[in-house]
């Protein structure tokens, strides 16, 4: 089976669902890794991308209570918080003090809970204020779940909501909230969250109005291999239509402090998932090994299993750390460069749109 898959990959043929299942079931992580690396090199050479970025989570108050989430709180609950726009600006200012070229943030990543009281204008104002203060920082904000919620707040349709956000400064959207599309599992994980179809719909419209996005998949909880592959294939289909996805990011489930509990995915599963994603998603330019969730060590090794991006400096990560992430909350630019070079790759600092802004 692997031989025929290898031949398909080498001749540029698309893999089927059966191929993907065979890859996941195979024990031959070395062959799979090499094949995925081959594809990654064809697309991005020896480049491995990183970004100087910062995460901001405006609030952990959320009307959804997903069972895999250890971050969310109800209003008034202990540990619940909400940031004002001024506080967000303050956080960004802190990191921008550095005047060394290439060290300022290229991107701010903003995702948060679905706050029961904040009006749509709060979000527009957040974007406008950030853009005014930091016109050169790309704003990558709001998962499809938040966009859907905002369209209810605004009373506008999805398209108009996205257009309004874009006008106020939204440059890109992250890929969160996809979780796993399979309905049965999704209902167990996050019954209140929008469906997989709705998630895809939001992304399709975002792409149509000119907003590039990422895509994610949360794996290692209750899903089957088949569920993972269906998820990948739905993303591949949409990408065929829109071309609006920049990167795919498989997210390893973290069990601590969550309602469903369970175990961490294995490092081997993490690497295999990266590799299979690279092989199946032939129309995605980038596969990201998100170091916050994989750990910096597995992320580095993932660069030899088909990943070409390890995300960035991040500075302050709250969501995964609520669920027992064992990584640091941030990494320095020098650490990222070191990891990439030691993996035998060329470190390329990118902006939010994958334009190279620094390399050695």
């Amino acid at each position: 089976m692997l031989d025929s898959i290898r031949n398909k990959v080498l001749s540029g043929q698309r893999l089927t669902k059966e191929d993907a299942i065979a890859l996941f079931q195979s024990d031959d992580i070395f062959d799979i890794g090499r094949l995925a690396s081959h594809v990654a090199e064809k697309k991005n050479g020896k480049n491995a991308y990183f970004i100087v970025n910062r995460h901001i989570n405006p609030t952990n108050i959320c009307v959804n209570r997903c069972k895999f989430c250890a971050f969310s709180r109800s209003k008034g609950e202990e540990g619940a918080y909400e940031l004002t726009v001024e506080e967000i600006i303050k956080k960004l200012r802190k990191g921008q003090r550095s005047r060394v070229k290439g060290h300022g943030f290229s991107e701010v990543h903003i995702v948060g809970g679905l706050h029961p009281d904040w009006p749509f204008e709060y979000y527009l104002n957040m974007l406008l204020t950030i853009k005014k203060e930091f016109p050169f920082i790309a704003i990558k904000a709001f998962t499809a779940v938040e966009i859907d919620y905002m369209s209810k707040l605004s009373g506008l349709g999805l398209e108009e909501t996205l257009v309004e956000l874009k006008k106020s400064g939204l440059d890109l959207m992250p890929g969160g909230g996809a979780e796993i599309f399979a309905e049965g599992i999704r209902n167990k994980l996050c019954p209140e969250k929008i469906s997989g179809d709705r998630w895809l719909k939001v992304m399709e419209i975002a792409h149509r109005v000119g907003i590039k996005t990422n895509a994610t998949m949360l794996y290692g909880h209750l899903e089957s291999i088949g569920d993972r592959i269906d998820h990948l294939l739905k993303l591949r289909n949409l990408q065929d239509r829109t071309g609006g996805f920049q990167a795919f990011i498989p997210l390893a489930y973290h069990p601590k402090n969550t309602e469903i509990g369970g175990f961490y995915s294995s490092g081997i599963d993490d690497l295999k998932t990266i590799a299979v994603s690279r092989l199946v998603l032939d129309n995605f330019d980038h596969i990201k090994a998100y170091w916050i969730m994989l750990g910096e060590k597995v992320s580095q090794v993932a660069l030899l299993f088909g990943a070409d991006d390890i995300d960035g400096t991040i500075i302050e990560e709250k969501i995964t750390h609520s669920a027992g992430a064992m990584t640091e909350e941030g990494m320095t630019r020098e650490e990222l460069i070191h990891l990439i070079k030691k993996a035998g790759k060329i470190p390329v600092q990118r902006d939010a749109f994958y334009n190279a802004i620094w390399t050695e």
Partner: protein, 348 residues
């Protein structure tokens, strides 16, 4: 398969692609351990003192005698730790300290005897620097020292203190610590009197690839002679809180890719050492799982307590259940072992 020589090994370490090297190590591991069992031991590190005259530059654990946080555990404290170890199913204690200038052989024999009087537990203790120090202090041979310690209850010797068995590197890392030949001599003498030991290597500090090869070759050569090493345990320098990291901005420690490369090469080069340990303590559980496909067949200890690596700012806390789960989810069968790699409980 034919044994590889030093030049080939050096070339593999420097130039081979990681996946190719890993695959080769994985195949060797499969041949040596075809049942797919990955072992671990339930034990505890008891560091009876953190006072050490060696003051190695890569170490964040040592203190001077006068330091406010210098300690020497009393017997009751040690007994309490052993009680806890046994209640958790432990079969071994790893008894190791600094080189405390006020402790002579009497202290050690007395401690060993009082432990053996109370408990039936394997004492894996005193790495070569401690043994060598005692021999010098009392002006007796290493062999005599080992016989005295064994008589008092010492069962086996951990492979610590090897760092890199290249005196060029030792001069930089640990100028006051024993030379390579002395480390090897303690191990040889131990093996000769029938004591089993492990061997370690700490890499990722200031060594060159050549030094790693020199180390592996020294272990292989001695093992050919004695067969006394039960396992080889490569781990990586943990830079935080160490003098070495403060003095050299380049002392990052080995990355995951470096670790897997050295681990794989160890499995390939040490064809006469049956077991290779993955080091979750320094690499985390996820990379330790990956290590099981890059040559390792043992998950080391559950480490009910670990102090030395923790002092260097790395702390992955896990339970025995976490270890078993990690082994299983990596696709292997988990089994608890004793000091000598006999299986004592299967979890599959």
């Amino acid at each position: 398969m034919d044994r590889i020589d030093k030049n080939t090994a050096l070339n593999l370490l420097k130039n081979s692609d990681l996946l190719g090297l890993g695959e080769r190590a994985d195949n060797i591991r499969k041949n040596l351990h075809p049942d797919g069992i990955v072992t671990f031991i339930v034990d505890r590190n008891i560091n009876y003192t953190n006072v050490c005259i060696n003051k190695c530059r890569f170490c964040a654990f040592y203190r001077d005698v006068e330091s406010p946080d210098a300690y020497l555990l009393d017997k009751d404290e040690i007994f309490r730790k052993i009680d806890e170890t046994i209640s958790l199913g432990g079969t071994q204690i790893l008894l190791q300290g600094g080189i405390h200038p006020e402790l002579g052989l009497d202290y050690y024999t007395n401690l060993l005897k009082s432990i053996k009087d109370r408990y039936s537990i394997n004492i894996h203790g005193f790495s070569p620097p401690e043994v060598n120090y005692l021999a010098e202090r009392h002006d007796i041979t290493v062999r005599e020292t080992l016989l005295i310690l064994r008589q008092a209850g010492l069962d086996s010797i951990p492979g610590g203190g090897a760092e890199i068995l290249s005196d060029r590197v030792r001069e930089v890392l640990s100028p006051k610590k024993m030379r390579s030949s002395q480390w090897l001599n303690v191990m040889e003498e131990a093996h000769k009197i029938g004591m089993r030991t492990t061997a370690t290597m700490m890499f990722g500090s200031v060594e060159e690839p050549e030094d790693i090869i020199e180390h592996l070759d020294a272990i292989r050569t001695l093992q050919d002679k004695t067969g006394g090493f039960t396992a080889f345990i490569p781990w990586s320098f943990q830079p935080r809180n160490t003098e070495l990291a403060q003095k050299s901005a380049e002392a990052w420690g080995a990355t995951a890719v470096d670790y897997l490369r050295v681990l794989s090469l160890s499995r390939i080069y040490l064809d006469n050492v049956r077991n290779i340990q993955a080091s979750w303590v320094t690499q985390g559980l996820k990379l330790a799982q990956v290590a099981l496909r890059f040559g390792a067949n043992d998950f080391g200890s559950t480490m009910i307590e670990e102090n030395v690596v923790r002092a260097a700012g790395v702390s992955y806390r896990v339970s025995k259940e976490d270890i078993i789960q990690a082994i299983k989810s990596a696709g292997f069968k988990a089994a608890q072992r004793d000091t000598y790699y006999n299986l004592i409980k299967e979890f599959f």
